[in-house]
Amino acid sequence: MPKVILTGSIRQHVGGLGVVEVGGDTAGAVVSALEASYPALRGWIVDERGALRRHVKLYFGQGAVSLDTPIGPNDELHIVAAISGG
């Protein structure tokens, strides 16, 4: 199963874990599986339309990817929050 590496500020919603293995063959499916396993994460990474939040990025391989990017079972998907704010 793909590994998901979570940014520190949302680890509180997955019991403090930094790395979680969940199923899914696209980045979006992985995020959905993550929400299913950890319901407190619902609404934090994607909004209720299923759109990635503006200041959240998914990284896989060499760069940022979209939710429909295919992910293999041995891949790592990084969920990263932008450093932004005032």
Binding site: P39, G43, E48, H55
Partner: protein
């Protein structure tokens, strides 16, 4: 004992202390995150906070102890058919039925909870004491909406409101009625007060039509956001005027609350103890509240981090807290 819930740009601050005196910080929650609104439901004692995380969006939390751990509520969330996502949760309001809590959000929508806040959620929500079916809501740029069936159907009600910010020739066809704040007098539910975007109004018929109570009656400006009423006196209301829509600070460098005791026929300044020189403060929509006691306790906060309070209906004021992050909301627990 007074407990104030102060939502700020950088977290929730719980202030406690003797009524009328300086208040101490009893707790700080959601550090670094914008707390748009926080309140305590007097029926259940449960506390609610709307928190907008800069990266991870708006979420609603609840607790029975604001100095302890907060739980995340499910929702509010738009259904897929709406093709919309909540950007902010502006206000949380107890309903009339025991298990109902209302929540007003942006983009403008009203959410209802049926289980006391485990799952819920516009800026002004005015239930009708004793009648769960009758509601009035206020929406920025969209006016007043009334329902007689608990929100199943709505009708717009803007008769009497004058949108001066729209060119005169275009007013007839406009939908852009910018309500800034609206409150219902609980002991006389047909009476509502409104701070409009340029204009202060009262309705004597449950919001069906509106009467100008802001022009030439003693206010230094009829622009502003905060509005409070005396829950025990339907003739009494308070506003905190700002200079103008293009200059949203306290007029003339003086911080003044204005009170009417005669349903808006006249207004007088309440300024004793408030900064009266070189004080250009901004007081946001939800940052003004009362405690319902007699004499009435009044509290408001500014984006410059001060919270002011009065335990004698506004006759004298003191700074009850200072040096907080920009204050977005103030509610008595």
């Amino acid at each position: 004992m007074t407990e104030l819930l102060v939502g700020t740009k950088k977290g929730l601050v719980v202030l406690r202390g003797a009524r009328g005196g300086p208040l101490e910080i009893a707790a700080r929650a959601f550090p670094g995150e914008a707390v748009e609104f926080a309140m305590r439901d007097p029926r259940s004692g449960r506390y609610f906070a709307s928190v907008t995380h800069g990266q991870f969006g708006p979420h609603l939390f609840y607790t029975d102890d604001p100095t302890g751990k907060w739980q995340q509520a499910e929702g509010p969330a738009f259904p897929p058919s709406a093709n919309a996502a909540i950007e902010r949760i502006w206000v949380i309001e107890p309903g009339v039925d025991d298990d109902v809590v209302w929540c007003g959000v942006a983009p403008a929508a009203l959410f209802r909870s049926g289980d006391g806040g485990g799952g819920l959620c516009l800026h002004s929500i005015c239930p009708w004491p004793g009648d769960p079916n009758r509601l009035a809501i206020g929406i920025s740029s969209a006016g007043v909406w009334l329902s007689d069936d608990a929100g199943k159907s709505w009708r717009r009600s803007v008769g009497g409101l004058v949108p001066r910010y729209i060119p005169e020739e275009a007013r007839k066809d406009t939908h852009a009625f910018c309500v800034h704040n609206m409150r219902r007098a609980p002991r006389q539910p047909t009476t509502l007060y409104m701070q409009f975007h340029g204009g202060v109004y009262r309705s004597d018929n449950a919001g069906e039509t509106w009467i100008d109570i802001g022009t030439d009656r003693g206010l230094p400006s009829d622009f502003g956001f905060p509005l409070a009423i005396d829950p025990n006196d339907p003739d009494r209301a308070f506003v905190v005027p700002l200079a103008a829509d293009m200059d949203r600070v306290t007029p003339e460098g003086r911080v003044r609350v204005y009170e009417t005791l005669d349903r808006g026929k006249s207004w007088r300044a309440l300024e004793n103890g408030l900064p009266q020189s070189k004080a250009y403060l901004t007081v946001l929509r939800q940052a003004f509240c009362n405690d319902g006691a007699s004499p009435l306790g009044l509290y408001f906060g500014a984006t410059s981090g001060e919270v002011f309070g009065s335990a004698d209906g506004g006759l004298t004021w003191s700074t009850v807290a200072a040096h907080l992050p920009p204050v977005a909301s103030v509610r008595c627990a």
